[in-house]
């Protein structure tokens, strides 16, 4: 594992790697034994049975993989290109930041359950709904780390650029772009499994072939080997993709992270709450106009394409408004019970594990592949299985949300911890400071911007996870309300639920942002410029 190797101390050769490699081997042996003991439960397939299935159905699986991988790859390129373009726009024209961020966030918060069928109607038969869903699943997780990366540089570099009389474009090209590359890599790595998941969910909207289509078939047919074979292939591809990006990045990122020694800036920008409110109102208005315009431009039929006014009516003046509000609030309560603990657990475990890997590099050999694999297993294949193993109560859903949140946090924190400036570490070494001292005093402060970036990204990601689980496995909460209202043609309710999910995600994001400003104001003021 390239990322793992880069963390390991250079001196750790000999028996250490062999011990580290034992972890996954033991895991596979345990899995095989457990599966053989539980054959009657129809939950777990043994690795040997999965391999046999793959061997016997190699043609079917490779054709399906080809289709899904192509769509995921096109979506990956489109989504990440959009992310880079948006981040560049913000860097060149900082005044646009709030609007761009607001729109980007809002579109990312639109739940797949609702966007899928709309995309199908817009694009008709073919691969485009899958590609667009893959792109939508990745662009935001690249955009946010990029925003951080474009600022992760000593402020005197920017001063230097301006002292030569050059503007923001030059600063972007010569200084910010280079500083942002490690963050871009983190974003691209997180994108790999997300793109694959997006393409698979896209196939639920009526695609002819692909891994998502086979997943539905396997679940319905109670074909345990097929379900696990699909999960295994999807995981292997996502892990391979992730590792490949890491390897490519490692070839080109030889430099030590730059020293960030910015003078604390007491005048943190923002300009008070009054300006914030004005900007918020402005962005909200823009969003409503864009929503309305989108429906008009595409000429979508008002039977299923509901505008802002329809939604406002549905929850205020319509004859069934009280029932609608009640349905939404009940569903919201059900969803929050899973969402909030899962989110917090995922963040905590992700950050802790990243610190543990830095402190005890030996465990990277086991922790990294397991972490990547856990996150790469497409949630649509695991949701029913995890819920079955952990019960239909809160535990199963909370774990799934935590798994979705955990991985981006882990990757981001790992990158953040590595940003600890080498020269400062040297100073600590000179004073013979222990690893714990260095962790607390250098690495954790260096990690905070990345942790907050991950915490923000994870607000919509965890909402996505919880609604998908509710839709496919538990059948309650907002995810189920959306699926149900689509099948009953209650599109007023569907769009109301979408609006509610989007608004709450944005608010959650904003709350994390407020916390971030307070904390980073102390530890990483260069981020607030």
């Amino acid at each position: 594992m390239s990322t793992g190797a880069s963390i390991a101390t250079p001196g750790g050769t000999g028996w250490q790697p062999r011990v580290a490699a034992m972890g996954p081997v033991l895991l596979v042996i345990g899995w095989e034994l457990a599966a053989r003991l539980l054959t009657d439960a129809h939950v777990l397939a043994a690795p040997s049975a999965i391999l046999l299935y793959l061997y016997e159905n190699a043609g079917l699986m490779s054709r399906a993989l080809g289709v899904t991988l192509t769509n995921a790859a096109v979506g990956f390129v489109l989504g990440n290109t959009a992310a880079i373009a948006l981040a560049a726009l913000v860097a060149i024209w900082p005044a646009s930041e709030r609007t761009v961020r607001g729109f980007a966030l809002l579109i990312f918060c639109l739940p797949l359950v609702a966007t899928g069928p709309i995309l199908r109607v817009i694009f008709g038969p073919g691969p485009w709904p899958q590609i667009v869903l893959a792109a939508l699943a990745v662009y935001y997780t690249t955009f946010v780390p990029l925003l951080v990366g474009l600022r992760a540089l000593p402020s005197n570099w920017l001063d230097l650029v301006s002292s030569y009389g050059r503007g923001r474009l030059a600063a972007l090209v010569h200084v910010r772009a280079r500083a942002a590359i490690p963050y871009l890599v983190a974003g691209l790595q997180i994108s790999a499994p997300a793109a694959f998941l997006g393409a698979m969910v896209g196939e639920f909207t009526g695609a002819e072939r692909g891994m998502g289509v086979l997943t539905i078939r396997a679940m319905r047919g109670m074909n345990v080997e097929m379900t696990w074979a699909l999960a295994l292939v999807a995981t292997a591809v996502s892990v391979g993709w992730y590792v490949a990006i890491g390897a490519v990045a490692k070839r080109f990122l030889e430099d030590e992270p730059p020293v960030i020694l910015a003078a604390p800036n007491s005048e943190t920008s923002g300009g008070g709450w009054r300006r914030t409110v004005v900007q918020l109102v402005f962005v909200s208005l823009m969003v409503l106009i864009a929503w309305w315009g989108f429906l008009k431009v595409l000429g979508l039929n008002p039977f299923f394409a509901k505008g802002p006014l329809d939604v406002i009516q549905a929850v205020t003046t319509a004859s069934d408004a009280a029932t609608n509000r009640d349905t939404l609030l009940t569903a919201l309560a059900e969803t929050s019970v899973y969402l909030v603990p899962g989110y917090i657990a995922g963040l905590t475990v992700g950050a802790m594990l990243a610190m543990l890997v830095v402190m005890v590099p030996m465990i990277a050999g086991t922790a990294l592949p397991v972490a990547i694999a856990l996150r790469s297993v497409p949630i649509i294949t695991t949701a029913p299985l995890i819920v079955l193993l952990l019960g239909r109560g809160a535990a199963g859903t909370i774990v799934l949300v935590a798994v979705m949140v955990f991985f981006p946090t882990f990757v981001a924190c790992l990158h953040g911890l590595k940003q600890a400036p080498g020269r400062i570490t040297d100073v600590f070494d000179v004073f013979a400071a222990g690893p714990l001292q260095k962790l607390v005093r250098i690495r954790i402060p260096a990690m905070l911007p990345a942790l907050f970036a991950a915490a923000k990204i994870n607000v919509p990601a965890s909402v996505l996870a919880v609604t998908v689980v509710e839709w496919l496995a538990t059948g309650n909460g907002l995810g189920s309300v959306m699926a149900l209202s689509a099948s009953l043609s209650d599109y007023d309710m569907l769009w109301s639920a979408v609006a509610l999910v989007a608004i709450l995600s944005v608010l959650g994001y904003g709350a994390v942002g407020l916390l971030e400003r307070r904390v980073l104001g102390i530890y990483a003021p260069e981020q607030l410029k």
Binding site: R220, M222, F304, N476
Partner: protein, 334 residues
């Protein structure tokens, strides 16, 4: 409805291209009576023997004979049928009376043109050692089902005088696994879906068809908009006559229909045994004395009245004019 909204740019382009092609073909083969027009049929689920009658019609060129180039659009768990039909992407869609009634309540101008499944496929599946053979057996059982189907269970209980509060509902989705694992005692599912999967996996199970206990909701119904019925009547008649021929052929030999399905969709991950059993099991749902007498897809005032009653229990108010038999009458020459 604004007519223009129903016509997409793609549609205009394809119509233009077809007209041009047909024009040049006409020069070469003057026998061809009219141009091939392209239409789509929106299926309600993934490709499988559930739609084998349509595949037979396609494969044998029975639509082409009547000047139709038909694309079969696959459905899926996140692919509602109504939006493509109302927006004109599909000329006809395969829905069910309860979904169509819900859409009509929301203002969609749909009509039911034909009924493929005379008997609703909803069933209660249970394990042979702890069977549910009668609605009264549900008393004290844990039932696994999508919460979305709660009104269905309520209707069944009401029709058969069963106390619903004595049944524990556990939400499950898309899998027979909770029943096999003993997490629930029975499942609310389709007769032709999860029970078939269990039988193939060697799980001994029994089913109770809800249609045998008063639950009358036409399923796999063909729907189109009023606008299409008025303006694209010939195409709809041609489409439905191909469907009727296809399904009659299907009934003669379900194994051949299964073979054709597997041949046409090698990438769909279909299991031959499962498909064969599913194809057999749906025959008694689709064909009855009524269809023997009047032809595939038929209904009478009595079956519609029964539907209206059950739909009422599901909270849907509908009138008999949701059903429009004129297309079938033309197809069957009645």
């Amino acid at each position: 409805m604004n007519k223009l909204q129903g016509i997409s740019r793609r549609h205009l382009l394809s119509v233009g291209a077809t007209t041009m092609l047909a024009g040049s073909a006409g020069l070469l083969s003057p026998r061809r009576a009219f141009a091939q027009s392209q239409v789509s049929l929106q299926l309600s689920w993934l490709h499988s023997t559930q739609f084998a009658g349509s595949y037979i019609a396609l494969k044998n060129g029975w639509w082409q004979e009547n000047g139709l180039e038909v694309s079969l659009l696959q459905g899926g768990p996140n692919a509602p049928v109504e939006p493509p039909v109302i927006s004109g992407t599909a000329l006809v869609g395969i829905s069910a009376a309860d979904y169509t009634a819900a859409a009509v309540e929301e203002g969609a101008p749909f009509k039911i043109l034909g009924v493929a499944m005379q008997k609703n496929p909803f069933a209660i599946a249970s394990l042979a050692e702890n069977p549910v053979n009668e609605p009264s057996d549900l008393d004290g059982k844990r039932i696994g089902m999508a919460l979305a189907n709660m009104p269905v269970l309520e209707a069944l209980c009401q029709l058969n005088g069963v106390d619903i509060s004595a049944i524990e509902v556990i939400p499950t989705q898309y899998s027979p696994q909770p029943l096999v694992a003993g997490e629930v005692d029975c499942l609310l599912c389709w007769e032709t879906d999860l029970p078939v999967a269990m039988t193939i996996q060697g799980v001994d199970n029994v089913t109770m068809l809800m249609a045998d206990h008063g639950y009358s909701v036409h399923s796999q119904t063909y729907i189109a908009t009023e606008d299409s019925l008025a303006n694209r009547r010939e195409e709809i008649v041609a489409l439905m006559s191909g469907e009727v021929r296809g399904w009659e052929k299907y009934r003669e030999d379900t194994d051949a229909a299964t073979d054709l399905t597997l041949e046409m969709f090698p990438d769909a991950g279909l299991d031959a045994e499962t498909q064969r059993l599913q194809a057999e099991r749906q025959v008694p749902l689709m064909f009855s004395d009524l269809t023997d007498e009047n032809g595939f897809g038929w209904w009478t005032d009595e079956t519609v009245a029964a539907n209206i009653e059950t739909l009422g229990l599901l909270g849907r108010t509908v009138t008999p004019d949701l059903w429009d038999r004129s297309i079938l009458e033309e197809v069957h020459g009645a």
